[in-house]
Amino acid sequence: MNKLTNILLVDDDPIANYVNKTLLEKIDGVEQVTTAPNGKVALQLLEQQTSPNNTPDLILLDINMPVMNGIEFMQAYKELAIEGKETIKVIILTTSNHPRDLACFTDLPIAGFLNKPLTSGKISGLLDEHFPA
């Protein structure tokens, strides 16, 4: 059994969200995959949580989004005080491998990067690294 049960997908692209959600829901043990169209909504979801049981184990975060992009979200997230935050892994999910983009996340609490698109292979790598059985 994986420890990964609750995932928050933050991406403005509904197709990407559809593909990713579909793939993630196939993982054994995953009970809930929530999507947010931008950083602001994601932040509200996190703040509205009443119990640490609802806290996501993994946040997959796109960079380029309207309203609040991935970098702005991370800056806000860094200051966010919620229960169980220490167990959340934030993975940046991006099409970009441009250093200009990646450099923005220095000093922000992220667990790693993954190139889009998400594939079954990449997911199993992610599980091995961050959520070992």
Binding site: D13, N64, H98, L118
Partner: protein
């Protein structure tokens, strides 16, 4: 009694002892009525010569002894006796008497005059009684004279003179005064002894010969400033004496001198003082002669009394001229009047300085500057002058003026505005173009007036800059706007050059203002264009970035969807054999699309990283690392790699770029290997004067000549059997050229390709 009454009183009177006269009171004659025999005898007179004659007729005044008071006293005494009827006493007086041979004999008398009256008181006679006291007076005088001589003798011997009398051939010391005894440091005991026995050292001072000579010849020996060595208080020193050795004779008729009378006067102080004066004069003379200036003394009538060597050289003459030539002779004719006038003013007591020309005796003209003072002398005041030859200075000044004039002419004819300033930066001259451009006048501009034509926004910084620049003494440049006559400002480049003397002191500044308004405009326009280009470039960069990113997102979605689709259709494969193939083709197209986008991204990265730092790289090590990265490909193709780069151990290049260059060339060599032979890749390096040449040679497919020409073009691919984006060599070329090098290729189809990368040797800065 009668008999007694007939007494011969006259005879009795005549023979009475004593000297008497009976005089008639008939002033002023005072006729002698009777005289005693003793007085007659005493004055060597006969009675007939005397009686009946006036007393002053018989005993007249000695005209050679006008100080003798006898006759005057007698007259006063007689007058007193007559007028006042009293006895008049005459004290001792000198009253010389005729000696019978026309002369007079000195006599001293003591006398009185007594009035004789009858019973009625009538004055009858004057009885004059006198006493000859000549012998007594003479004796008294002798004693006094002797005392005077003794006093003088004593004073003489005490005089600061060494005196001695030496007698006979043995030079017996007859007399030696204290000074002489002190001279030889002897006591009076030596008197009576032979000189050279008593004072042996005197012999060695040459005295023996002198004394002999004086005694033998009877000639006086006199010597001034005779040097004598003496030891006083243990210190030996030379003393100087004026010496006189004079023969003396015991008797006036002696033919041979009895001895020698010697006087020595110590004149050491005098001589030393004289020597000091002489030395001082010699020094002064030496200074005067050594000075390069002309020093001269000219008498009121213009006679050249003195001139030092430098002066004589200037007038091209010699010392023969002194005291003979008139200075006016060497003064240039046009300056003579002034010179004469000034000379006279100096002789009247004024100090003066002036300039004049001289023409030397050989014709050379010089410009002189003289400073003259009056010099008092026996014949009134002369002119003492120190005169410099200022010909060269004047010529230099003239040359400078001429050159300045030439400069002004030149400066008025150039396109630039020009000016001159003093060492402190105060401008005293502008060329005509300045005035034409600014529409100002010299009066407005002189000194610091230029501030008026400066732009108010710039003037403060310009003033601050030039204030510092004047002090530095170095060339300077500055650009600033200047207002023209229409009130418009145009930009000028100002350059200032200091004109210095031999010591490096700034004499003046010369400056130019070059109109650079057009250039400034062009610069501004160029800058605007540059900024535009930078903006375009940034836009392009952003476009590529955005395009690649925005393309990536849908592609990524399609890829993801294909993945999902593929999983969804996995169970249908057996019924639809084409599904797997179609999905595989879709994935391939997707991959190619992704690579193209990746290449575009790489290109953007390269442009952004063109400024990556140049470091010293170990080529062999770097190649080794790249080969390690390529190891799977090398193994797969079983390629033989030969590396021989010892010729250039270190290369200066951006590490990332050189790695990319090597990686691209090696991966190309592996990719485009010929299928029919084992790939052999030779990596070499050679050193050329300006480059390290890295070579990568393969035995692969090779390229046609046409292909070689287009080899480094972006997105150009010549082989379609392998994956590629056509951007690798384009990037290699950019990287090599960006660091000052270049890349060359030689290839033969079917035989292989060689790339030669010329890497600039010197470290490339910036």
């Amino acid at each position: 009694m009668h008999q007694e009454q007939n007494l011969d009183f006259e005879s009795i009177f005549n023979t009475m002892p004593g000297s008497f006269l009976v005089l008639k009171p008939n002033a002023p004659q005072y006729t002698i009525l009777a005289i005693s025999d003793e007085l007659l005898h005493n004055t060597r007179m006969e009675r007939v010569e005397v009686v009946g004659k006036g007393v002053f007729e018989v005993y007249p005044e000695n005209p050679d002894a006008i100080t003798a008071t006898g006759p005057t006293s007698l007259r006063t005494s007689l007058k007193n006796a007559v007028e006042n009827r009293v006895l008049d006493q005459i004290p001792v007086v000198r009253y010389d008497v005729p000696d019978g041979s026309g002369g007079f004999e000195v006599r001293y008398w003591s006398a009185n005059s007594r009035p004789v009256t009858d019973s009625s008181g009538k004055l009858l006679y004057i009885l004059h009684t006198t006493q000859d006291i000549t012998d007594k007076i003479v004796a008294e005088t002798r004693v006094s004279d002797l005392r005077s001589i003794e006093k003088k003798y004593s004073l003489f011997l005490k005089a600061p003179l060494a005196v001695c009398i030496l007698t006979g051939p043995e030079n017996i010391i007859e007399l030696s005064n204290d000074d002489m005894l002190r001279f030889y440091n002897k006591s009076k005991d030596i008197i009576g002894q032979p000189l050279f026995e008593a004072i042996p050292e005197a012999k060695h001072q040459g005295f023996a010969e002198i004394l002999d000579q004086v005694r033998k010849t009877g000639q006086t020996f006199a010597y001034s400033e005779y040097p004598t060595k003496r030891v006083i208080d243990g210190n030996e020193a030379i003393y100087y004496y004026n010496i006189v050795c004079q023969p003396y004779y015991e008797n006036p008729f002696d033919k041979e001198p009895s001895g020698v009378f010697s006087i020595a006067h110590n004149v050491t102080e005098l001589v030393l003082a004289k020597k000091r004066v002489e030395e001082s004069e010699a020094r002064l003379q030496a200074i005067i002669e050594a000075t390069p200036e002309c020093i001269k003394i000219v008498s009121p009538d213009g006679l050249l009394n003195y001139m030092n060597k430098s002066g004589l050289h200037m007038i091209e003459g010699d010392e023969e001229l002194l005291g003979k030539v008139n200075v006016l002779d060497v003064i240039a004719p046009e300056h003579r009047t002034t010179w004469k006038k000034n000379h006279l003013r100096v002789c009247e007591g004024n100090n003066l300085s002036w300039e004049f020309d001289i023409i030397g005796l050989k014709g050379k003209r010089r410009r002189m500057e003289t400073h003259a003072v009056p010099l008092p002398g026996e014949n009134g005041r002369s002119q003492l002058a120190v005169t410099h030859d200022i010909t060269k200075r004047k010529e230099a000044e003239l040359a400078l003026r001429e050159s300045e004039e030439q400069f002004r002419t030149f400066a008025n004819n150039i396109e630039n505005l020009a000016w001159m300033a003093d060492p402190q930066g105060s401008i005293y001259w502008y060329n005509e173009r300045w005035f034409n451009y600014t529409g100002t006048s010299l009066e407005e501009m002189i000194g610091w007036g230029w501030e008026k034509v400066h732009h108010p926004d710039h003037v403060a910084s310009v003033v601050a800059f030039v204030s510092q620049a004047w002090k530095s003494g170095d060339n300077w440049e500055l650009t600033f706007p200047l207002r023209n006559a229409k009130g418009e400002y145009q930009w000028f480049l100002t350059r200032a050059y200091p004109v210095k003397d031999e010591q490096g002191n700034v004499l003046r500044w010369i400056g130019t203002n070059t109109n650079i308004n057009e250039q400034k405009k062009a610069e501004a326009s160029l800058e605007a264009k540059n900024m535009e280009l930078v903006r375009i470039n940034n836009d392009l960069d952003n476009f590529i970035y955005t395009a690649s990113h925005d393309l990536k997102a849908p592609i990524s979605n399609i890829e993801g969807l294909i993945g999902l689709l593929s999983e969804e259709l996995a169970g249908l494969d057996s019924q639809h054999a084409d599904i797997g193939h179609i999905i595989s083709l879709m994935e391939k197209s997707m991959d190619r699309f992704k690579r193209t986008i990746a290449s575009l991204t790489d290109l953007v990265k390269l442009q952004q990283e063109s400024a990556s730092p140049v470091t010293r790289l170990d080529l062999g090590e770097l190649i080794g690392e790249v080969l390690l990265d390529l190891e799977p490909h090398i193994k797969a193709s079983a390629a033989a790699i030969e590396v021989a780069v010892d010729a250039c151990t270190y290369i200066y290049f951006s590490e990332k770029n050189l790695r990319s260059v090597v990686l691209n060339l090696l991966s190309n060599a592996l990719k485009y290997a010929a299928a029919d032979r084992v790939p052999v890749i030779r990596i070499g390096c050679e050193e050329q004067p300006n480059y390290h040449v890295l070579t990568v040679k393969d035995n692969g497919l090779g390229l046609s000549l046409q292909s070689q020409k287009q080899l480094f073009t972006m997105f150009k691919r010549f082989h379609d059997h392998v994956e590629g984006t056509g951007i690798g060599l384009y990037m290699v070329k950019k990287m090599v050229e960006g660091s000052g090098g270049y890349i060359a290729v030689s290839s033969e189809e079917g035989a292989g390709t060689e790339f030669r990368v010329f890497i600039k040797k010197t470290p490339v800065k910036d």
